[in-house]
Symmetry: C2
Subunit: 128 residues, 2 copies
DNA sequence: GAAAAAATTAATAATCATTCCTGTTTTTAT
DNA sequence: ATAAAAACAGGAATGATTATTAATTTTTTC
């Protein structure tokens, strides 16, 4: 994995994502880091999130609530979205080899990867 | 399925989506329908796409190229995104029952549905 | 079939996440 | 240490989507 992370700002963004188990948006990342880096710029956060995503060091999650969320866990996993509260949990469940293979014959091209989103109601919301 | 579709505009949007196998964006739908409905408004397209999505009569696809795309096929299926040309194909491949069940034990809630995105290179792009 | 009520539309303004731009600062390479 | 390259801060611009409002169309009721 490419390890060209010079700046304090970029490293702080990556560290934050790797230390959290939730999936913060760019805005949340910006507001969180601003507390310790008062003149951090929002553009810097967006630019580095885009760069880190392209380098594969973080994952971008879309289609949750209109804004993009980011995930510092790079090992393959799925996501569970609570349709009640909007929370996004990691689901460490491996369907990988088999899923790509099974779908291959139904597909007009070569599959390289996949991403599974599960939708439902989380335990907290079920209690209500 | 609820069938409360009064207006010409709403019906035209639904018909268009059901007659196409690709997954047009709101803008493409707007420009296409405008040819036969010259004073169609973009807001009408967006409002009806949102409504039809909420009613479950169409599906919204996010995270493809920054803009939302829409799918008139309601039977459960997956999608294959070509990372080369951006094309989105339907993949009629059923992993349903098993996938939700298998993931259930790894999940902090009750799974109701899922959506699988496959990423790869389509046959056209492979030839190049 | 016409009048009243409800729903929908067109047009336009507003919003808001994200990207772009410019001049400055930090990092890297020599 | 110095020059070149990369990255930053701050703010302006972009662009997809949503909200507003008055007018029109559709549905309902008689």
């Amino acid at each position: 994995m490419a390890t060209l992370n010079y700046s304090k700002q970029r490293q702080a963004i990556l560290d934050l994502l790797q230390s959290r188990k939730d999936h913060p948006s760019a805005e949340v990342i910006y507001q969180t880091l601003r507390k310790s880096m008062p003149n951090l710029s929002a553009g810097t956060v967006y630019r580095n999130l885009k760069l880190l995503t392209e380098l594969g060091q973080i994952k971008k999650l879309t289609g949750l609530d209109g804004v993009d969320h980011f995930d510092g866990t790079t090992s393959p996993h799925s996501h569970f979205i609570c349709q009640c509260c909007g929370k996004v949990d990691d689901v460490f469940f491996e369907a990988d080899e088999s899923l790509n293979e099974k779908a291959a014959s139904h597909c007009n091209g070569k599959i390289q990867s996949h991403h599974v989103y599960f939708y439902g109601t989380c335990n907290e919301c079920l209690k209500k």
